[in-house]
C-alpha cells in the first residue's frame, strides 16, 4: 500500500485523477450548459498550455507563436466545416452557389484546388495535426540545428505569428480575412450548435485533454523527459554525452505544436468559428501566460492556469467592466513576482508544508488517518474535488517500467516529505 502511494505521488496520477473528476463530474453537475460550454472553450487552451509545459518548462524553449499552431489546427477544421455548410442549397443566394460565402464575396468562381481535400473528414483530421507539425518541424529544425535559442527563438516565433496573421488577412478570398470562417453549422450532418452537441463536445475535449496530459506525463517520466530536463539545465553536457540535442528540442516543439493544433480544432468545433485574432501575437502571449500562471513545470497546473485566467477574464469583464484589465494585469504581475512557478509552485511551497504540519499535529493527537499528506494536499488544490479513493482506479494504467524511472521534479519532493 505504501509503495502504491509513493508511486502515485511520484507519477502525479493522483492529481490528474482529481482533475478528471473535477472536469468530468463536478463541472457538468454544477454548471448550466452555457457555462459548461465556456469551460469547454477554456480547456481547448489547456492543450496549448500543457504543450508549453513540455516545451518551455521541460525543454527550456519559449515559443511566442503557439497561436500559429492553434490557428492552423483550427483553420483546418474550419475549412472542412465551412465546406459542409456551403452546400449549393444553403448558398443559393450567391452568384456562385456551392462555394464558401467569403469566396463569393471576393469574386472567386470556383473552389481553389488546395481546398478540395478538405471535403474529406479523414484528410482534415490528419491535416489538423500534420500541417502544424510540419511547419513546426521546418521552423525548429533550421533554428535548433543552428543552436538558436532563448529570446531569439521567442522573437522569431513571434514574427511567424505576425506573418501568418498578415497572410491570412491579406488573402481573404481564400481564408475569410479578418472575419475568419464563420457560420459553421454541422459536422458530418450533426448540428454542432445545439446544447446537446456542445455538451458532447465538452466531454470529448475533456477526454482528449486528459489523454494528452497522461501522454505528456508518460513522456516526462520516460528517458526522453529526463533528457529534456537535463538539456534545459546543462545543454552542453548532454551534447557532450553524445546526444543530438537539437532533435530533442525539435521533438518538444513539434509535440507542443500538435497539442496546440488539436486544441485549435476543438476550439473551432465548440465555438463555431475560427478567426485570425486567435493566431497573432497577443493570443500567443496570452497562451504563455496560461502556462505561467498554472506553473510551467506542472501539466495539471497548466490546465488550472488556462481555466483560471480565462475564468478570471470572463468574470472580471462581466463584473467590473471598467477595471477588469487592471485586475488581469495585477494577476499576471502578481504571479510572476510572487509565485514564479505559478499555482503549482505556490501549492508546493506553501499549501503542502502547511497541510503536512496540520496533518502531523492531528496524527499526534490521535486523529483518524485520512490518507497521506500528499493526497490530502492535492485535494485541497482542487477546491471541490471528491475524496481520495478516486485516485486508485487510475492506477492500473501504469506500467512498472514507468514507475521504475527516477522520479523528477515534483515527485521526489513529495515522497521525501511523506517519509
Amino acid at each position: 500500500m505504501d509503495a502504491l502511494k509513493t508511486w502515485l505521488d511520484r507519477s502525479g496520477l493522483a492529481s490528474i485523477a482529481i482533475l478528471a473528476v473535477l472536469l468530468l463530474v463536478v463541472f457538468p453537475l454544477a454548471m448550466d450548459s452555457f457555462r459548461l460550454n465556456l469551460v469547454g472553450k477554456y480547456l481547448t487552451y489547456g492543450f496549448v498550455a500543457i504543450g508549453l509545459v513540455m516545451l518551455w518548462g521541460y525543454g527550456g524553449v519559449l515559443s511566442l507563436g503557439q497561436g500559429v499552431f492553434f490557428g492552423l489546427g483550427g483553420y483546418a477544421m474550419a475549412m472542412f466545416l465551412k465546406l459542409e455548410a456551403s452546400d449549393p442549397q444553403s448558398t443559393a443566394i450567391q452568384s456562385t452557389p456551392g462555394i464558401p460565402d467569403f469566396m463569393d464575396w471576393n469574386q472567386l468562381t470556383a473552389l481553389p484546388l488546395w481546398w478540395e481535400p478538405f471535403n474529406s473528414f479523414g484528410f482534415t483530421l490528419s491535416a489538423v495535426v500534420a500541417v502544424p507539425v510540419l511547419l513546426a518541424f521546418v521552423i525548429s529544425y533550421a533554428m535548433f540545428k543552428r543552436r538558436v535559442g532563448g529570446v531569439y527563438f521567442a522573437i522569431i516565433t513571434q514574427a511567424v505569428a505576425l506573418i501568418l496573421t498578415v497572410l491570412i488577412i491579406g488573402q481573404q478570398g481564400y481564408t475569410g480575412g479578418v472575419n475568419g470562417m464563420t457560420d459553421l453549422k454541422t459536422l458530418l450532418g450533426w448540428d454542432i450548435r445545439s446544447d446537446e452537441a456542445k455538451t458532447v463536445l465538452y466531454f470529448v475535449t475533456t477526454a482528449l485533454l486528459l489523454a494528452a496530459v497522461l501522454l505528456c506525463r508518460w513522456i516526462q517520466l520516460s528517458k526522453l523527459g529526463t533528457l529534456l530536463l537535463a538539456m534545459r539545465d546543462k545543454e552542453d553536457r548532454v551534447r557532450f554525452s553524445g546526444y543530438d540535442v537539437s532533435m530533442f528540442k525539435v521533438f518538444a516543439f513539434c509535440l507542443a505544436a500538435a497539442l496546440s493544433a488539436i486544441g485549435g480544432a476543438l476550439f473551432t468545433l465548440q465555438v463555431g468559428f475560427m478567426s485570425p485574432t486567435l493566431i497573432g501575437i497577443v493570443p500567443s502571449i496570452e497562451m504563455v501566460i496560461f502556462a505561467a500562471v498554472g506553473g510551467r513545470m506542472s501539466l495539471v497546473g497548466a490546465v488550472y492556469g488556462a481555466l483560471l485566467v480565462n475564468f478570471g477574464k470572463t468574470y472580471f469583464s462581466e463584473t467590473f467592466p471598467d477595471l477588469w484589465l487592471f485586475l488581469m494585469a495585477a494577476l499576471f504581475i502578481g504571479v510572476v513576482m510572487a509565485f514564479p512557478n505559478g499555482l503549482a509552485g505556490l501549492y508546493e511551497s506553501h499549501v503542502k508544508p502547511w497541510l503536512a504540519r496540520r496533518k502531523g499535529g492531528a496524527a499526534e493527537a490521535g486523529g483518524p488517518p485520512a490518507g497521506t499528506p500528499g493526497e490530502a494536499g492535492q485535494q485541497a488544490a482542487a477546491p471541490i474535488a471528491s475524496p481520495g479513493p478516486s485516485a486508485s482506479p487510475a492506477a492500473p494504467h501504469s506500467t512498472p517500467a514507468v514507475a521504475a524511472d527516477p522520479g523528477l521534479g515534483l515527485g521526489t519532493k513529495v515522497s521525501s516529505q511523506s517519509a
Partner: protein, 304 residues
C-alpha cells in the same frame, strides 16, 4: 512619364525609405538599450512611447489655452518633457518590477505584458478612449517644395533629424561617458563590475529609465506622423523588437543597420507590390535571414 518625373519620384521614394528608417530606428533605439544591453524583454515599450505622445498632447492643449502665443515654440520643449516623463515612469517601473526579475529574462516578458495592459487601461481611464491629435506648430506641417513636383515632407525631415541627434547622443554616451562604461561593464560581467565598485543596481535603473525616456521621445516624434490613442503603442512594439533582434541584440550599430535594411526593403517592396504582400515579404526576409544568421547582423563577440 517624363525624365523629370521619374527623377522626382525616385528622390521622394528614397526619402520615404529614409523617413521609415528614422521611424524604425527611433522606436528601436530605446529597446536596443533595454533589451539589447540589459536583456529585459519590455513588452510595455510601446506604452512608454504612448506616454511621450500624450505628454505632447497635454502640453499642446495647455499651451493652446494658456499661452497661445507660444504655439510655434512649445514643441522642442515638449519633446524634452516627454523624455523626462517617460524617464520617471521607467525609473518607477524598474524599481517596482524589473529589478526583481533580472535573473529571469523571460519572466520580464510576462510582467511587462501585464504592465502594458494596465498602462493602456490607465490611458483609457485618465485621458479617454478616443484618439487625440495634438496641435502642431505650423512650421512642422506640410512639405518643402523643392521644385515643382518634388515635395519633401517636413515632419519626415524633423523625425530624421531628431533620430540622428538621439542616436548620436546614445552612441556617444554609451561609448564615451562614464555611464556608458558602467553599462557596458555591467552587461559584460555583472559580478566583476560589482567587484570593481560599480553600483550595478543604480546603473540598471538609470539605463532602463533612459531607454524608456528615448521611447518617450519616439512617441513624441510620432505625433507628427501617426496616431495617438490608448493602444497606439501596440502598433509599434513588434516592429521595434524585430529591428533590434535583426540587428543583433547587443549591438547598437546593428540596430542602426537593421533599421536601414528593413526600412528600405519595406519601402521599395511597397512601391512595387501591394501593401499586405510587401509586409509579408519583408517579414519573411527577416525570418529567413535570422534563421541563417541567428545572432543577427552584428553579433556581439561574447559567445554564450
Amino acid at each position: 512619364m517624363s525624365f523629370d518625373e521619374i527623377y522626382n519620384i525616385t528622390l521622394m521614394q528614397g526619402f520615404a525609405g529614409l523617413s521609415l528608417f528614422a521611424v524604425l530606428l527611433l522606436m528601436g533605439l530605446g529597446l536596443a538599450i533595454i533589451f539589447g544591453q540589459m536583456g529585459v524583454i519590455n513588452m510595455a515599450h510601446g506604452e512608454f512611447m504612448t506616454i511621450g505622445a500624450y505628454t505632447i498632447f497635454l502640453l499642446s492643449t495647455l499651451t493652446e489655452s494658456y499661452a497661445p502665443g507660444l504655439m510655434q515654440a512649445y514643441f522642442p520643449f515638449a519633446i524634452v518633457c516627454a523624455f523626462i516623463v517617460a524617464f520617471i515612469f521607467g525609473w518607477l517601473a524598474e524599481w517596482a518590477l524589473i529589478r526583481h526579475l533580472y535573473k529571469r529574462p523571460l519572466d520580464t516578458l510576462l510582467a511587462t505584458w501585464g504592465l502594458s495592459l494596465a498602462m493602456q487601461q490607465a490611458f483609457r481611464t485618465l485621458i479617454g478612449p478616443k484618439e487625440v491629435s495634438p496641435t502642431l506648430p505650423d512650421w512642422l506641417m506640410g512639405s518643402w517644395e523643392v521644385t515643382e513636383g518634388l515635395d519633401i515632407p517636413i515632419n519626415g525631415m524633423f523625425v530624421l533629424a531628431l533620430t540622428l541627434l538621439v542616436t548620436g547622443g546614445v552612441l556617444l554616451a554609451l561609448y564615451k561617458s562614464r555611464w556608458g562604461l558602467r553599462v557596458r561593464a555591467t552587461v559584460a560581467n555583472r559580478a566583476m563590475a560589482n567587484a570593481t565598485g560599480i553600483n550595478t543596481t543604480r546603473t540598471d535603473r538609470v539605463t532602463f529609465a533612459i531607454g524608456c525616456g528615448i521611447a518617450g521621445v519616439a512617441g513624441a516624434a510620432f505625433t507628427t506622423i501617426g496616431s495617438t490613442g490608448p493602444t497606439s503603442g501596440s502598433l509599434y512594439i513588434v516592429d521595434a523588437f524585430l529591428v533590434v533582434t535583426f540587428g543583433g541584440a547587443a549591438s547598437l550599430w546593428g540596430t542602426v543597420v537593421s533599421a536601414f535594411g528593413i526600412a528600405q526593403t519595406q519601402s521599395i517592396s511597397e512601391f512595387f507590390l501591394s501593401g499586405s504582400m510587401a509586409k509579408v515579404l519583408t517579414l519573411l526576409l527577416i525570418v529567413t535571414i535570422l534563421m541563417l544568421r541567428p545572432q543577427g547582423l552584428f553579433a556581439s563577440k561574447v559567445r554564450r
